[in-house]
Amino acid sequence: MEPLIKTEGLYRYYGDHCAVRNLGLELYRGEVLGLLGPNGAGKSSTLRMLAGNLAPSAGQIWLNGVDLQSDPIQAKRALGYLPENPPLYPELTVDEYLRYCARLHRISGVAVDKAVSDAKGRCGLDEVGQRLIGNLSKGYQQRVGIAQAIVHNPMVVILDEPTVGLDPVQIREIRSLICNLGRERGVILSTHILPEVQATCSRVLILHQGEQAYAASLKQDLRPAGGCFLVRLAQAPELAAIMAMPGICSAEPLAQGRYRLQTTKDLTASQLAEQLVQAGWGLEEFVPEQPGLEQIFVRITSGEPSA
């Protein structure tokens, strides 16, 4: 299957500062790729290059198989892009604005109304069609921005921090919209919110100082091997007694009768819980820890010396 987005050796310099360094990524149909990184990691620069808003200093980009540098118009036909600041005209109504966007993306006269009403439906904008964009709340403006990116039904959707400024309910709606988009299309989004990546993305790519620092599929388990559990026991036993149980790699005593237990990968959560109950220590809390992405992120962005 041909990738929807493919880049090779992408570089971007701002003067002497290198914002993106030797980035190669691929996005396939049916994927949601999350670009993760601290502020200034080069996420927005990468997305702006993919959307044809910024020329790369070196390297090549193909959108839907078309070279973005040599045939930008053809390549951009497959593209929907929401920049960091949604590109809205406050003096237009939502309907006028979306109609304008649809026409800019070469949707012909008859199909425009249908495309606009579809996009409004998907982004929950049905009731605000007649209102001026300038009078809408930030959350609604963000939704109009997303509607603008999908109004022409593009194969590739690029979203730069799509859930900024939304309330928790809206965030959930937008996340499910992104998941839906990711079924038949390719979506690439940037964020620095970790749970967002875990909730929506099928693959993650962590950028640090312009370079790809980590890439993984989120469909597979991120835990290295075995599991990590946080337990609280009413009758605090000897550490050695816990260590003596089968399948325990390490046990770390914490405050108030809590322990962090590392297990081998043969031991499932239910088996561990059963063992603890049978030992008669009075199991009060049992929390499987999902460190995965967060640990990786923190290790990459702070732990490593910046080389």
Partner: protein, 250 residues
């Protein structure tokens, strides 16, 4: 595609009070000047009758009127053109155009046509005022047509200059100041042409009034038309290049 962009431009212009305001102020001042010219004409009329080959309505009212339209509009064009691209660069809406499947020359032409349509409204206001004289007298319609052509070309050239300067800065005010400077320079440079010296012919050629005055006097020469078309073409090409270069050096 070009028309879509031009239509949006015009729509936004008329959705804001700016366009209406400009048109109202403009119409008021023009009407005042028009009346002053009329007054002068009626005062001179008795003496004109006795003259052989006396100047008529066209000379005494229409030509000064068109000249006034040109000067007032030149003062207004930077206010209209500064928004064209500067504003979109500043607010970030330009990325909407950039990520759409359209080329930069289509964006530039669309913006330019949008502004020309607005200037067309101003031009027709002047034309209607001049034509209203037909109700009570006779006009040299050929000369009026040449004058309107000249006025149209002056406005179109000024619009192209304004468009180019608005691609240079994301600050609309900076774009406006630059446009004022360049337009005034082109309007006043022929003051130097009066001085003796080899440069004076060149200065006279660069100055807009040299070419505009000939058209106002009813003389349509292709060299004058080419002068205006050169300015328009040059500014539009420079705008395309500038916007293209912005992708590499933001």
């Amino acid at each position: 595609m070009i028309l879509t962009i031009a239509g949006r431009e015009l729509r936004s212009l008329f959705l804001s009070p700016l366009a209406w305001n400009l048109l109202a102020v403009m119409q008021f001042i023009l009407a005042w000047l028009f009346l002053v010219q009329m007054e002068n004409f009626t005062r001179l009329q008795s003496r004109l009758v006795s003259l052989e080959n006396a100047p008529g309505l066209t000379d005494l009212i229409v030509v000064p009127l068109l000249g006034n339209v040109a000067i007032i509009t030149l003062l207004l064009i930077p206010l209209l053109s500064m928004r064209l691209i500067s504003e979109e660069l500043r607010s970030g809406t330009f990325s909407l155009l950039r990520s759409a499947p359209i080329s930069i020359y289509q964006i530039v032409l669309g913006k330019y046509l949008g502004l020309l349509a607005m200037l067309g409204v101003i031009l027709s206001m002047g034309a209607v005022m001049a034509l209203s004289l037909l109700a009570g007298g006779e006009l040299d319609l050929g000369r009026l047509a040449a004058g309107l052509l000249g006025l149209g070309l002056v406005l179109a050239a000024a619009a192209a200059i304004g468009l180019y300067l608005s691609t240079l800065s994301p600050q609309p005010a900076v774009a406006a100041v630059g446009s004022y400077g360049l337009l005034l320079f082109l309007w006043l440079i022929n003051l130097a042409a009066g001085a003796e010296g080899k440069g004076s012919a060149l200065f006279a050629w660069i100055a807009m009034p040299t070419h505009f005055d000939r058209l106002l006097s009813g003389l349509v020469r292709s060299s004058d038309l080419i002068y205006f078309l050169l300015i328009i073409g040059l500014c539009l090409i420079l705008s395309v290049h500038r916007l293209d270069a912005l992708r590499t050096r933001p």
